[in-house]
């Protein structure tokens, strides 16, 4: 009796801690007052201003575009890595391969961002491309660090499922490519979708790497939001937060759905 009381209390307090700030943010987004902290009354005013704020809308579109593209590329390359690490025996310099595909997971974003920026500048000095930084350079950087997240999901999924199915299909006359497209890929499809969703969210959310690799005409949403709230509060950002958090949490739920499906 006593221990189950402790248990419920711990879980309740934990969840309260996790959700309280999000609820506060949503609550204040309905505040009529321009001064965020002084409650004046319920209003949708800031949602209205948000949708009329061209800077934010433009940044949002750029962010979605970069996120969708880099998630797609990162998923293709990440699936290849996951597959290689589990199913292909002969990988030249395998330790180096593992190093390349796992280090972006632990490398602080700041170091990654700096290295990408210096790389693009050096590349420009050598071959004259990219002459200026912008959406393309953010895209390349995001693909690079999202690959690792997709690879780890695919790797886990492939290690989980029985290789015998693939071997049985081969015995029945399927060739290598056919096994891959007809057996392996359909089985890991939920994980591929989960990987894409994760990469999409990471790219959409990234501020640090994008700040380093951005250029004219490539202000992503986090960059715009950060410039608005770095020194103070912004009622428009409150409204944006409420919408974005809701959308992202739904993406998160989809991620769980796909990542767990067919697992047991």
């Amino acid at each position: 009796m006593k221990s189950s009381l402790i248990k419920s209390t711990v879980i309740f307090l934990g969840l309260f801690f996790l959700y309280f700030p999000i609820l506060v943010l949503i609550f204040y987004s309905f505040n009529e007052n321009k001064r965020v902290m002084v409650w004046k009354g319920f209003s949708l005013r800031w949602y209205n201003e948000l949708f009329n704020n061209e800077q934010i809308i433009e940044a949002f579109i750029i962010s979605i575009k970069i996120a969708a593209l880099s998630a797609t590329f990162a998923t293709i390359l990440g699936v290849m890595i996951g597959y290689s690490l589990v199913r292909i025996r002969k990988i030249p310099f395998k330790s180096f391969y593992i190093f390349l595909s796992s280090t972006p997971l632990v490398l602080p974003e700041l170091i990654l961002g700096l290295s990408m920026l210096l790389f693009f500048i050096s590349l420009n000095n050598v071959i004259g491309f990219p002459s200026s930084r912008g959406q393309l350079t953010i895209f390349i950087s995001h693909v690079t660090f999202c690959i690792a997240f997709v690879a780890i999901i695919i790797q886990a999924r492939l290690t989980d499922f029985n290789k015998n199915i693939e071997e049985a299909a081969m015995d029945l006359g399927y060739n290598y490519t056919k096994v891959l497209y007809k057996i392996t890929l359909p089985i890991i499809l939920p994980s591929i979708i989960a990987g894409w969703l994760l990469a999409f969210t990471i790219s959409l959310d990234d501020l640090v790497v994008a700040s380093f690799t951005t250029g004219p005409g490539a202000n992503t949403l986090p960059i715009v939001v950060f410039s608005k709230v770095r020194l103070g509060l912004s009622p428009e950002v409150n409204a944006l937060s409420a919408i974005l958090m809701f959308a992202l949490i739904i993406i998160g739920l989809f991620y769980f759905y796909f990542n767990k499906k067919f697992k047991h």
């Binding site: 934990g14 996790l18 690959i147 290598y176 937060s241 769980f256």
Partner: protein, 295 residues
Amino acid sequence: MKNKLFEKYFVFSPYFWLVLFFFIPLAIIFKISISVSEWGMPPYQDIFLFDNGFKINTTFENYVYIFTDYYYIGSFVNSLILALISTFFCLLIGFPLAFYIATSNIRLRNILLVLVVVPFWSSFLLRVYAWKIILQNNGILNVILLNLGITSEPLQLLYNQYAVIMGIVYTYLPLMILPLYGYLNKFDLNLIEASKDLGLNRIKTFFKVILPLSVPGIVAGSLLVFIPVVGEFIIPEMLGGSDRLYYGKILWEEFFVNRNWPGASALAFSGIIILVLPIVIFQILYSRWSQKNEI
């Protein structure tokens, strides 16, 4: 033979991408970190000089400069301490949560797990921003403290190191809970019963049975929190004040404000060597070892 071609395609496409866009950039950081700095654009000299015959023009001065100046070392130490404290609090809050989730019945367990991780999916920047609202002078926390009579005037909760720790523990907590849960979930609850039957009390059971078995999860979770926190830039920038400087901020300013590229690169590369390399080597050795033992 088609297989071989196929395998090559699968292995080498990402290989090529990562060498080009990940390894070479890291190598460039190293190159610039040993270059001689000068005024100009780019603000460093080439490491290979060809004017009077071939000469290699490198220096370790940038490293000496960083490691002898208290400004840099102090900030790095500040970041390490911050990461240590934050990791400790994440563990303190995360462990009981992970433990109780893992010991719930299976339906409740999945719901709780999703509930714990879902906030992690919402924007990182906005979750930090939420704390900025909560900790304002006329924010909700101060209102509660005033109404309870704990303080008579609003406390300055924002723009100091405690606000930074608060923000970090909040945003990184799910990264601690997930690996902990992963290990606790695997373990046999009967062990706890058994140890109770054998006469160990609660505290002893915890220290002799539960804790030793969850060490791998504790290590994994702590690393996932500790390393990124050392390089954290956004949270100290949003919630911190001028009372403490951290590694991320110093690196950012060295590059963007002081325009000292070699210095910033030396800072970044030192960070890689001190923080990241030991863990990556450990991971590679571990995965090789576990592969060998499987076969």
